[in-house]
Symmetry: C2
Subunit: 108 residues, 2 copies
């Protein structure tokens, strides 16, 4: 998906023929703020990801990819992080997993 998260939501919404007010109601937020979200002027609150998934019957795992992918990309772009950053993320995720495994082993 080559778009910001805001653009992604707008696409979903317009495809389904919903107005800002209608979708905002489903997401339990103000239509003015949803407008800002779609236009990249506010962040979508991760607490509403489940409501978004329900509204459009989306696979939640894929939605997370879209959402967090957007978040990380914005930061990387804003701070001009080299693409090497992503390799390091992969390493570090594995490291965190390995530590967690060790902790779990100690428990039992």
């Amino acid at each position: 998906m080559k778009a910001t998260f805001g653009e992604y939501i707008r696409q979903l919404r317009t495809n389904k023929g919903l107005t800002l007010t209608e979708l905002a109601a489903l997401l339990k937020l103000d239509s003015a703020n949803l407008s800002k979200i779609e236009n990249g002027k506010r962040e979508f609150d991760e607490k509403r990801l489940d409501k978004l998934a329900n509204a459009f019957e989306l696979d939640f795992e894929k939605l997370k990819v879209e959402y967090f992918g957007d978040q990380f990309a914005k930061k990387m772009y804003a701070y001009n992080c080299s693409s090497e950053t992503l390799m390091v993320v992969e390493e570090k995720v594995n490291y965190l997993k390995s530590i967690n495994v060790k902790q779990a082993e100690i428990k039992f």
Copy 2:
């Protein structure tokens, strides 16, 4: 670098034979809070990345990779994001570059 950002700082610090109090002074923060940072109980504030780079004569670009890599990895791990997320990040960074989104204010 296979470690959390806190572990990374601790390594730098102990290699140089500094105490928490000494490094904390260089970073303009409380030694108790630096301890929490090294132990992963608080976040290192990005406003201090420059001070950290100075304290240890680090390449700033590499430090950013380490720092943001850590941040993203923690989130990915906490939310169990699939590794596909990183592909999406790459796509989205390119997308942001292509549409030349106005850069956020960068503090360093």
